[in-house]
């Protein structure tokens, strides 16, 4: 499988009033036609990683080191012109809150047409035609009429469909999805997930899907990377991670999701709270909350150990597994 995205040794630090080590020594890759889930809780660095891939982080206050390679291009070395062509055409993004991501003063049709005109050099009329086609692809009812609708005139689910139409208008190879279904109602969320799954197959896109909800990841992802405190603590195929997680954090996260838990039965929890990220991690960030912590977890950063084909965990337990 060819790799569309290769990230290695990525470090992201926010400076300013206080320093935050948001992402630390992160490496991941995305294959052709693959859906990769970044799973983690708030502050784990999943959205920051996604934004770094498109260079959307504020320049002045962000220090990025490492390598981000997308389809042979070095993203971190791009200038503004190159970035404008890169965004929307090679890589496109959908966000959690379409009401904030869409421009409130232009109609949906105009916004989609503009992106087609900019990236493909087509005429505005051709752009409008593509817009109509895209609205039909994402199954917006009476698409023709909706072309002239402003974002505020649509319901939440419709807006999310419109944003997907905009993101896919120039047929990007890679779609980045930042919790696109989190703000939606349950009955709408499943519709959007199924739509994304179908479009991914139809367009042959690769997708990186950021979510905090394991259920959502199960519906859409092929492979999952679990993040904690700015690091990927475990990655592997969805089945492996869900059925037999190795890292104690991944285990705890799966156990604490209330799925089919019986009333009166205690829920399994992870004690404590995530670390503050004010320092660069020099040992296992999860050790203070870990039931299985050993002295050496506190002494040094555990290595990223390969425990199987395409399966790795950053934990001393994984070392033991790999040794046997």
């Amino acid at each position: 499988m060819t790799k569309l995205v290769e990230i290695s040794g990525l470090n992201i630090r926010f400076t300013g009033e206080r320093t935050v080590y948001a992402v630390n020594d992160l490496s991941l890759s995305l294959g052709d036609g693959e859906v990769l889930g970044l799973l983690g809780e708030s502050g784990s660095g999943k959205s920051v990683t996604l934004r770094a891939l498109m260079r959307l982080l504020p320049k002045k206050r962000t220090q990025i080191t490492g390598k981000v390679n997308v389809m042979g291009q070095d993203v971190l070395a791009m200038n503004d012109d190159q970035l404008s062509s890169f965004r929307g055409q090679t890589v496109s993004m959908i966000f959690q809150e379409p009401a904030l991501a869409l421009d409130p003063v232009y109609t949906i049709g105009a916004q989609i047409a503009e992106s087609v005109v900019r990236h493909e050099g087509k005429s505005y009329a051709e752009g409008r035609a593509r817009a109509l086609e895209m609205l039909e692809v994402v199954r917006i009812p009476s698409a023709k009429r909706r072309l002239d609708a402003y974002p505020h005139e649509m319901s939440g689910g419709m807006r999310q469909r419109a944003m997907i139409a905009l993101a896919l208008a120039c047929r990007p190879k890679i779609l980045l999805a930042d919790e696109p279904t989190t703000a939606l109602d349950a009955t709408v969320q499943i519709q959007i997930l199924l739509l994304l799954r179908e479009l991914q197959r139809e367009f042959g896109m690769s997708v990186i899907f950021v979510t905090h909800d394991i259920g959502v990841a199960i519906e859409i992802c092929d492979r999952v990377a679990v993040m904690y405190a700015g690091q990927i603590v475990e990655q592997g195929t969805l089945r492996d991670i869900v059925r037999s997680p190795v890292h104690p954090y991944a285990k705890g996260l799966l156990a604490s999701t209330i799925h089919g838990a019986k009333r009166g039965q205690r829920l399994e929890t992870i004690p404590g709270t995530p670390p503050s990220l004010a320092e660069k991690p020099h040992n296992c960030s999860f050790a203070p909350r870990c039931k299985l912590a050993q002295p050496r977890c506190v002494e040094q950063l555990p290595a990223n150990v390969e425990v199987g084909p395409g399966r790795a965990a950053r934990c001393v337990l994984a070392e033991q597994m790999a040794a046997t």
Binding site: L193, L194, H212, D213, E219, L253, T257, H259, L267
Partner: protein, 353 residues
């Protein structure tokens, strides 16, 4: 912990009047409509946020309310707490009608609420200890006693008072803030606590901690919960009985296992089927229903679900189905398909039809 528990003075809980058989809370025909100003040439319209909602909560039970945004579940909670005036309906707390036999001040002693936004519901200028002690002081407790009570309650919700009492809300995490809000609600020794999406904004691992805490507190203080959430897994875990709301109306209610195992209303079925799968080999293939929930401004007439219902028949648009008992366990649904002899082709054969 135990020796301090006896030394700290708490406000006496509101007295139990009616005994165990009397519901702690009885809500009859609760209604709230918000007027929406029309344009220059358009007529005035109304949001029918809560429409003729009737239910009861027994002593010591946990009742869940589920539904999507705009279904009226949070408005119901606010009406119960008298945070906004209601248009119609009665709220009866332990046999006493609020506003007649029971004053609002007494009601607040007996009923407290925890909100979704843990930050917005605390005064940013008060320390945590002051916030928790504020309620008891309003109800006549001396400052020193109230502060001691606040520290005691902090311990009960799993926050060490020596570390947290003098901190401000912005200095602690969301999960810790929500624990503070729970302590604040408990400071008046209420018997009923309304939890309005109280765990929805928390991360999964923290959510489980808070749910365990709620379970402990319920047992220790003999509480009754009204638990509002959009998360069906959480509601199933915590509730004894559940109400399903759609566009301001209760469409189904009953013991949680009956509702989950044999949902009678097509909306409940869709809601349950919309939950993401937990098995990678059995993903959802078909969306259970299409479209968004309609705007609660001028909702569809008669059965409000008929515009999205796959089984809708002309009957559903012509008359409103009433909540009808399905068994003797209190399982009720408002759907013609569940009402014997209603005239719907899928209705069970009725004795009187």
């Amino acid at each position: 912990m135990t020796e301090t528990a006896t030394s700290v003075e708490m406000l006496e809980p509101v007295e139990d009047v009616g005994g165990v058989a009397q519901p702690l809370l009885q809500v009859n025909g609760l209604t709230k409509h918000f007027p929406v100003r029309g344009g220059l040439f358009t007529a005035k319209r109304t949001v029918r946020a809560v429409d003729n909602v009737t239910f009861s909560v027994a002593k010591g039970e946990t009742v869940g309310i589920v539904g999507e945004s705009g279904c009226g579940k949070s408005t119901t909670a606010r009406l119960l707490m008298h945070l906004m005036p209601r248009d119609d309906g009665d709220i009866i707390y332990d046999g006493m009608t609020v506003g007649q036999a029971l004053s609002l001040r007494e009601l607040r002693r007996g009923m407290q609420m925890v909100f979704q936004d843990s930050y917005a519901s605390l005064n940013p200028r008060l320390t945590i200890e002051e916030s928790i002690a504020f309620g008891p002081k309003v109800h006549g407790m001396a400052d020193g006693t109230a502060r001691a009570l606040a520290r005691e309650l902090l311990g009960k919700v799993g926050l060490r008072p020596e570390n947290f009492a003098n901190r401000y809300p912005h200095e602690i995490s969301g999960g810790q803030r929500q624990r503070v809000n729970i302590a604040r609600a408990l400071a008046l020794s209420p018997r009923l606590v309304i939890l309005d999406e109280a765990v929805s904004a928390l991360d999964k691992s923290v959510e489980a901690q808070v749910l365990n805490l709620l379970d402990d507190l319920k047992r220790e203080f003999g509480l009754t919960y009204l638990f509002i959430s959009h998360d069906l897994n959480v509601v199933r875990y915590i509730s004894d009985r559940v109400l399903v709301m759609y566009l301001g109306e209760v469409v189904e209610l009953g013991p949680v296992d009956q509702v989950w195992d044999a949902p009678a209303h097509p909306y409940t079925r869709a809601l349950l089927a919309a939950m993401p799968s937990s098995d990678p080999d059995r993903r959802t293939e078909e969306p259970p229903i299409t479209g968004d929930p309609p705007n609660p401004i001028d909702p569809p007439s008669e059965c409000r679900f008929h515009t999205r219902c796959p089984f809708a028949e002309p009957l559903c648009a012509n008359a409103t189905p009433k909540l009808t008992a399905l068994d003797r366990m209190g399982h009720e649904a408002a759907c013609y398909m569940a009402i014997p002899g209603s005239g719907h082709s899928r209705a069970p054969a009725g004795e009187t039809a």
